[in-house]
Symmetry: C2
Subunit: 260 residues, 2 copies
């Protein structure tokens, strides 16, 4: 298959890719996001997402393989890009030369089910933390992820850190987390983790009816509004000297205790 | 206090800093390592490490404060560096303009004590994973960390990710982990985590006599040699679809279960 070539770093499709990678607002407004990496792009196409634009370097195309075939057959438009363009698109040190622009799924809302265990992240800023939490959530079998503020689920660094888990897990963005949690209180146990040794220990809770656990922002923790909305304030008992667990470790332990 | 000024990015002290930051071999041979950031540098000086060389930008010196005073009074040599030099030394996007070259402690070996809980990392390559594991270890009250191969404990990225925990925790580098573990088997339970659902569940182990838990390399897990050396092969039960937990999440859950 002959692909249209892009040599210029100022090509319109290249500019669109960069804008979508950098700006959450641009992603939200256009309903599209970007991916980098052969596996991530191919997984995404196979999971039923619509790959709008595919960018491949000559080397990546030559190397070929099953994943490249999948991508070429599913992408609406495909370009062959120069190494210089690949460098511009890439967010990594050594790029594989595979990039795509993908349409966001139309409706990602899900209903919380009795007995399910869910993780909600409030204003978590670091894409690595969001990505790592999603990967662990998928591994442990968490039923769904709720993201409120902070880094969005289509942040390219978060997507990469999640190894694609953010595309496979049920993930819902919720604007007003406190109100949303209040509405869940009739169905399921809601709780927020706090670094306060007087709060209920996470080890003593009964998760058999399911739960939604909130982990808060890296610096400020869970907001007052959310603390007032949940039924339980819960703490992870610590014996050590560090100020507190980081958001990612707190999320890991919280999910583990819910699933244990 | 008037400090000697450095304007040139080719200054010898600047070159030494960069070499020590980049090369594990250079660190090992000279017995020195580097730190970036006001808090990390000041914590280190207060923890009794010898700060050999301090680099401060004019702005950092002007801003002053207790930590800068601590650093200036404890450093053997201090330089005032230009912003351009600070950029060269820095590994961060926005630098605070505070850097130091520090002597490694002479003897970091410790003896494993009955009842203690220890984490050993085998060939963990990613400095973020080593740093995060150390931070969680300190928070949860792990007695000591054993690092064998992979990223070394004085890697600047690992030190920063650990928020200084790598300087405060007992940390020992062990060359031949398998032999070392065999020698501990009389004192304490030794175990390695494996992604094998037929192995013993980590939830069923009795940690009351203490334990040394090994978490392996990000891609390949724990080596055959170490698997033969430990008393138990242990798994973290997973219900989900992802291939496995990443090294950092596995380390977090393992430490949590030991301390729970």
């Amino acid at each position: 298959m002959e692909l249209v070539r892009i040599q210029s770093r100022n090509n319109e499709a290249v500019k669109t890719f960069c804008k979508l990678s950098e700006s959450r607002k641009a992603r939200r407004e256009s309903g599209r996001f970007t991916l980098e990496g052969l596996r991530l792009c191919a997984d995404c196409a196979q999971s039923g997402f619509t790959v709008e634009t595919l960018f491949l370097t000559e080397a990546a195309k030559e190397k070929g393989g099953e994943r490249v075939e999948t991508l070429l057959s599913s992408a609406k438009t495909a370009y062959c890009i120069s190494e210089s363009v690949a460098e511009k698109l890439s967010d990594t040190v050594t790029t594989q030369g595979v990039f795509s622009i993908v349409q966001m799924p139309e409706n990602t809302e899900f209903s919380v089910k009795k007995g399910g265990r869910y993780l909600a992240l409030e204003q978590v800023q670091n894409p690595q933390n969001l990505g790592a939490a999603a990967r662990t959530a998928e591994a442990l079998g968490i039923a769904g992820l709720i993201v409120s503020g902070g880094c969005d689920r289509f942040n390219p660094k978060a997507l990469r850190a999640s190894m694609g888990s953010l595309l496979r897990l049920p993930v819902m963005q919720v604007e007003d987390l406190a109100s949303w949690l209040k509405a869940q209180n009739e169905t399921i146990l809601t709780l927020a983790t706090v670094p306060d040794m007087r709060a209920t220990s996470i080890c003593t809770l009964d998760f058999s009816g399911g739960a939604i656990a909130v982990v808060g922002n890296e610096g400020n923790g869970v907001s007052e509004a959310v603390l007032s909305a949940v039924r339980e304030r819960v703490t992870i008992p610590m014996r050590g000297a560090a100020e507190s667990l980081n958001a990612s470790a707190a999320a890991t332990i919280t999910m583990w205790e819910m699933m244990r």
